[in-house]
Structure formats: C-alpha cells, structure tokens
Point group: C2
Chain length 509, copies 2
C-alpha cells in the first residue's frame, strides 16, 4: 500500500464518500488510489472554485465534509474565494492537495509556490505531510479539525509521500472528531437574559435547522423575545410547523433599526454580527452600545441542544410572542417566491434583483435556504451543484442568481449536466453590477463618466446565457417575468439541470 492508498482509505474510513476534483500531474498517484478505493464518488469541476463551492454546498446539506482534490498552489488559489465563503458558513471541508516531491520542493520550478502559506488564508488546519507513514494520520487530523471546528482543513501531500510505501500496519494516531456539546451555565444565564423585556435572540449555524427553529419558537412564545438570523445564513429551514424568524437587514441602518431598544442580545451559533461594510460616518456595530451581548453557544457547539435546553427553562413563563415584520414587495422577489417548488433547496445569490424571496416564501412553503455567507460572489452555481449531489434528484435545487455573480463560476453548469443534477438556475439578468451603483449612491458619488459607468455595465456586448448554457450542455430558455411560472414548471418537471434567463424589465431594476 502506498501513501496515496492510505489517504483514500482513511477518507473512506472517516465517512467521506464524495470527492470534488480538479487534479493535475502532482495528483496522479491519488487518482490511482481513488481507482483502487471503492466508496468515493468523484465529481469533476472544470474550475477549482466549482469544486470548493460544491464541497460547501454538500456540507451544508449533508452535515458532513466532502473532500476536494486540487492541484498545487494555483489550483488551491482558484478555489480560495469559495473556501472563504465556506469558512464564513462554518462548513466542514477537507482539501487534499498534491505538491512536488519533498526533494523537489525547494527547487524554483514552474509550479513551485508556498502552498501551505496560501492555505492559511481560509483554513483552520493546514498540514504538509513529510512521510508516507504519516499520510493517513494527517488526513484523519484534517478531517477531525474540519468537523470539530466547523471549517476548512487543507492537507498537502508531496508526490513522494503519495507513491512511497507505507510500512506501518495502521496509522500511528487514531483520531475521530469529538462530538459537539454546550455549556449548561451559559444556557441558564441565557434563559435569564431572554426573560427580560425587549430581549433579542440571534440564531445561526445548526440553530437554523428545523429542530433549532422549533426550540427558538418555543423560547419566543414563552418570553416574548424577538428572534433574528443574519442576512445570509449558511442554511435555514422553512416549512409547516417551523417558526418564522426575521433576517437582519443588509445595510447597517436597517439592522440597527431592528435592534434598537434591545435590552439584551443572546447569540446562539454565532459571534456578534456586525455591519458588512463600515461607511463614511457610519457604524461598524449594529447592536446598540447599551445593549447586553450574551453568547449562549458558539457555532462549534451543539446549538440545537443549547436552544432546546433554554426552551425547557423558559417554557413555563408563557409571554406573548412578537410577530416578525412583513416583507416589502419589490415584485420580482414575490414572483420567484411564488414559483419556488415545494421542498426546494433555494440558493440565494441574486443580490439586488430579488433580495426578499426568503421573506415572501418563508412559512408559506417548505424549503431550505442557502445564503452567500462570505460575500464572495460566484458561489451560487457551485453551491447548488454540491447541494444536489448531497440530496439527489428528490429535492429540486433552485439557484437564483444575479448575472454578474453567476459569471465568476459559470463552469458549474457543466458539472450539473454531467452529473444530471436536478438544478434550475434562474439568472436575474439586469446586465449590471447593480450593487455598485447602489453603493456609489450611498457614498455620495454622482455624475459618473461613461468610462467608469462601463465598469458596472454588462452590456456591449450583452451576455447571452442561453448560448452559454447550451455550450455547457444545459437546456436553457429566456423569459419575461410573466413567462417565469411556466418555464419553472417545465424546468423542474424535466430530469437534469436547466437554466432560465429572466429578463428584468427596466421598471423593476
């Protein structure tokens, strides 16, 4: 058995069954081992950002890490932006990266670079293995770190570690992930805080699962507290019997308005939420200075257990629950919410075109929400791909995308076609980086010249998504908002992926 075989056997032993791969020359021995190791489904991405975003989507839907297989520093670099999103989503991902043979590492060859240094950018665990005997154990450590820490691990295998014989009969460290728990003292304190007038509970991570939201709903009903999520949580459930909670606003002024007057903010599954950007004269923090901030559970804790324990404590009290605010209708959000199929996985990367689909659909329909956790656009297609791999054809995936953001990782369409995934991509085609215009207005910049205006404009030439989609083998149509319901019905009814270019009339932009 060589080092590569021992890595793949450790992966299967840990429960890994999917590998999102874009390998190269330094990974051929790992490919050979993949060939000899049953139990891992290999899914090819044409660009590494597809692989890493798919691993994030897989983790969000399955709760387990997938592995990626990437080629040296540049391959890892191409996957970095979506690994940033995975980090912010607290998604466990294990990157397996090949590199030069130990003796070749310090040569200034074409592809020499600081792979481990790069991996620090998004990883909570980085290991570069030096000996074939350590390969399996290093994989196990990386896997355990990703699961326990809810984040990205990267383990780098030189080619000689891959091809070298393993001499030990078993890995010298046996390492399984520790189960998550929660702090009982904090739970009691949280219950006291939430019983105060004008208390707020903000929930993230596993707390936005069905069980977590039910517990949060019990807390709300008992204490009268208000309950929020972040604007773009990694995953949140909606459906019959699932309490509806409000998302904090995108811009800091909106979030501040929601939190003004709060006596206490209890955090379950997250650190203090802050403004996405700090504006000139504007705040970094959205929780008022005078408000008590009490962290009840970290994202790595058993957040559901903590919420259920709080609910047990406060249940007897029985105050009246506050109702979440009703959404403002911008037309397109309501329309898309209407056509969202029952049981869908809804991926939200429409940015400005359809920002409130969640508010329009939540409570009315059963669906799972997946958000843009790290603000790095170009995750929608990859995330949808990974979610579909995790859940199979029974759950339709609807990826609602801005056209600008979809262009970063459009290669995901091909993987959806090859794997015959049940993904419908709705491209909200406003042919603009509209968020930039919004932010320029906020910054007081007006009267922009045609040359700078062109940097926000995706026309000249206009991008034709039907052609792009056909190029990757995905059936596609172009529709007006009025034609969307019929197109969505057809797309979901047919096997495999589909793309709908939704032209946005000028009055809705």
């Amino acid at each position: 058995m060589n080092g590569a075989d021992s890595v793949l056997q450790a992966a299967v032993g840990a429960g890994v069954d999917v590998c999102f791969a874009n390998p190269g020359t330094t990974e051929v021995h790992l490919l050979g081992a993949l060939d000899r190791t049953p139990g891992i489904r290999s899914v090819l991405g044409l660009f590494e950002g597809v692989c890493t975003g798919a691993a994030d989507g897989f983790a969000r839907m399955s709760g387990r890490p997938a592995m990626t297989l990437l080629h040296l520093g540049p391959g890892l670099a191409n996957g970095a932006a979506n690994l940033h999103n995975a980090r912010k989503a607290a998604s466990p991902v294990v990157n397996v990266v090949g590199t030069h043979a130990n003796r070749h590492l310090n040569q200034d060859s074409l592809l020499s670079s600081d792979v481990s240094g790069l991996a620090q950018y998004f990883s909570l665990f980085v290991r570069e293995t030096r000996a074939s005997d350590d390969a399996a154990a290093d994989f196990q450590l990386a896997y355990a770190a990703a699961v326990e820490g809810r984040g990205v691990s990267t383990v780098v295998f030189p080619t000689d570690v891959q091809w070298g014989e393993v001499t030990r009969s078993q890995p010298h460290r046996c390492r399984e992930p520790w189960a998550a728990g929660f702090d009982a003292g904090r739970v009691e304190q949280a219950a006291r805080e939430l019983a105060k007038d004008n208390a707020v509970l903000i929930v993230d991570g596993a707390g936005l699962s069905r069980e977590g939201l039910v517990a949060a709903g019990r807390i709300r009903a008992a204490t009268g507290c208000r309950v929020f999520s972040k604007r773009q949580p990694a995953r949140m459930e909606s459906g019959p019997g699932v309490p509806v909670i409000e998302r904090l606003g995108y811009f800091p002024d909106a979030a501040i308005a929601q939190l003004t007057g709060a006596s206490t903010v209890v955090l379950a599954g997250l650190d203090e939420p802050v403004a996405i950007f700090a504006y000139q004269g504007g705040p970094s923090h959205v929780i008022p200075d005078e408000t008590v901030v009490f962290p009840a559970a970290r994202v790595t804790d058993d957040v559901v257990g903590a919420l259920q324990a709080i609910a047990e404590i406060v249940d007897a009290k029985g105050k009246v629950a506050a109702e979440p605010a009703k959404p403002v209708d911008n037309g397109l959000s309501a329309l898309i919410a209407d056509v969202l199929p029952e049981g869908a996985i809804y991926v939200d990367e429409a940015i400005t075109s359809a920002p409130d689909v969640f508010e329009h659909a939540v409570g009315r329909k059963e669906f799972t929400y997946l958000g843009l956790t790290g603000g790095s656009i170009g995750i929608g297609g990859p995330l949808a791909t990974g979610a579909a791999v995790a859940c199979g054809p029974e759950r339709p995936v609807v990826n609602v995308q801005g056209d600008g953001s979809a262009l970063y990782t459009l290669q995901a369409l091909w993987t959806q076609a090859r794997e015959e995934l049940n993904v419908t991509t709705v491209i909200c085609a406003n042919h603009r980086y509209q968020i930039l215009s919004v932010e320029q207005q906020r910054a007081g910049i007006t009267g922009v010249s045609p040359e700078v205006e062109a940097l926000m404009d995706l026309r000249s030439p206009e991008i034709d998504w039907v052609n792009l989609s056909h190029g990757f083998g995905v059936p596609a149509v172009r529709v007006s908002p009025e034609e969307l319901p019929a197109a969505m019905k057809r797309a979901v009814a047919e096997d495999g992926p589909a793309l709908i270019q939704l032209d946005i009339p000028a009055e809705r932009k």
Copy 2:
C-alpha cells in the same frame, strides 16, 4: 483631494495608463477617483483571473506595469493563479485592492479576511496603507518594487484611506524605480566560460528580445556555444535577422539529453532551470552535476546589456556556431505554425495538442512568443487580452489553447469583444485533460476505471465552444484541420476577436 485621488494621480505620474478592473463596494471611492483622473484606460474583466492575466500580458508586451483594481481578499484570491504565472514570468504588475475601513478591519464581517497575508503568496511587495497621507507614497513604492524587482506588488487601501482628505501637499517619499544594470566582473567571467568547449548559454527575460537574441547569436557565432531558452519563456522574438535558439524540453529526460556533456552552463536572465516535476526515481536537476553553472545576469539585471557586453568580449574569437535541432513534426504544430499570421503575437497554451508550434515557425516568420511561465493553466485568454490592449489592432494576437485550459478563464472572451481586440482564439478541442493521461503513463498507472477515466474526459456532455463564444459576443466557427487556414485568414481579416474550435482527429491526439 482624497486618498483615492492621490493614488490615481501617483499612478498616472508613474506612467500607468491601463487598469484591469473588477471592483466592488470597497473600491467605489477608487472608482470615483478614476473618474476624476484622466489618462487611465479602464478595462473590465468578468472574473479577476482575467484582469491579472491581462496585466501580465500587458507587461510582457509593453515592458511596463498595468494596475489591477480588485475587491478585497476573495477578489485577489480569484486573481492569484495568474499572478503566480506573472511572478514566474517576471512581469511587473501592481495590484490595487480595497479593504474595510481601518476601524472595521478587526470586525468579523462577511468579507473580513487576511488580504495582506494572501497577497504574500505571489507578491514581492505588500503594503496595507493606514493613512490617507501615505496613500500616494505607498503606491509609488509598490510601483517601484514591481519594476525594479520584476514582479507583483500589492497595495491595499482601506475605504477610510480612500475617502479621507490628504493634508500633505506632496507625497512624503518620492520614489522612482532604479534603472537595471549588470555586473561587469560577471560578464568577463561569463565570456571566459563560454569560450570553453561544449559551453551552453541559457537565456531568459529581456535576453529573449530581438536585441538580446542578436547578442546571444553573436556569442554563439564567436564561441560555438549552444544557446537555449526555457521551455515556456515569458516572451521570445522570432523574425528576420533574429537568431534561432532551441527551447529546453518539457520532460526532464529531454532537457537532460540536451544538456549532457555541457562543460559550463552560463545563465543570463534566470536562475538555474530545473525539472518541472520530480518523478519517481527521476531527477530534480537537469544540468549535469559535473557541469559548472555560472550566473552571468539576473532577471532583474540589464540582461540585454550583459549579453551585448559578453558579445563584445568574445566576438574576436570566431568559432563555428552549432545549429539548433530540427523539430519533430506532430502535424498540428506544423499546421498552426503555417497559418500564424506575419507579425503575430502567439500565445502558447495548447499543452499537448500543439506543443511545437514555436519550433515550426521560428526563423521562418516574424512573431512574438508568449508562454505559460508558471504552469497554472487558464492564462491564454487573459494573456492575449492584455497583449492586445498593449499593442493595439496592428498586431494580431493568436491564442492557441487547449480546451481544458481555456475553460478556467473563458470570461476573457467577453473583454475581447467589449474592447474589440484583435485576438483569434484557436481551441485545440481534444475534449480531454490529455496531459493527465500522459503523466499517468509516466507514473506506470494503467487500466484506469471508467470513473477515474471520467476525471480526464471533457465529453458527456461535450463542450460546444461556438455556443460559449457566441454567449460572450465573439464570432466563432468549428473547423477540421483542413479548414483551419481559411478560417484563420477570415478571423484575422475581420475586426475584433474571433474563436475557432479546431476539432482534432483521433489519429492526431
């Protein structure tokens, strides 16, 4: 004047006239400044790897840095793979990246990440500016470092540095790049080494310009030494009166065969060339152990001046020059060499499909060669884009691309369409990652299962480049090898970009 204005004025003052941009919210004040600062042409890329690869192409053809404008850590990450190539090409590039306001930097917001840490991966100079008064000077330092060090500089501007008022009347450090020189003592020693029997001269960097090659040719004629370049130099000229030199082989055995018996290897414009990969039982080094290795000039030196000085010393001696070896004809390489237009800029990213176009065209035609310097595939389209921006429509750019490598950065086609660039992309469509099959054979891995075989296969579904190209607004045709000459003629004759999908018959794969 705010900090952003001072940065753009410093850029124009340094001679920057092109900005390859993919900005976001943290760059809106830099956009505002772009608007107020005449003299910089802004070119939008739909993906950051297009911007960074284009900046590399611009630098290779103009000899000057372009700036990029990128959005926070994830934007820089998406540009990193082609910045790796730029680093290996010794191309000066100045990345300008926005980040959060100073007071917001340590908040765990959506887009918070270690931008400067990431930039270390490919940069020789990294600076994160803290005060508006330092912004112009920091840009100047970054620019000077890129030019003097022939590499990538990254300067990061928090939003408050951009919007804050500059209070100094001029930057507090005035910094212009130092001119490159060369070491006269080394030149004399190099002349003595090259006069030995079986001497070899390896040339890179500016030494592969017309003037550098003429000087190398004089040295060869005088001493009888053999002259080589690396396999994929950043840039090399061919044309009337330009001596023809041989490229070292791709695989180490080929390079070793070329260098066996060399008494001395003199290096001009590079460090010791090594094997791209180290194989099982194979070497890291391609220069024999017993050979003297003498560095005559670094890539940051005046390599042309050094070669001319060596030529002056050895000229009197007058030995008979060795002729470079003739290329092996694989059919497709010769065909593409035949159709290469006179005066073209030829971008070489065809990997396995047409590896010897250079050998077939060199000396017969006037053209400029641009190679894949860092082995990170997906540079062809961006490199061609930047070269065309640098040289204008008079010089046709022909980007010969493998289909696998082209898929990493296909968004470059749109920028070519928008800017009406004279770029013809030839997609050598073998529908495979053929290099992986070659490397598997070298590693002795045979009898691969269909699942692993599928990781090297770009069929099912087959990618249709005509559709993809039309999607981005670039006219496209699909041809057989026999139809290539007519298609190339049409593509070059018409204004703006074109794409040719060249189907490779089975017998030529």
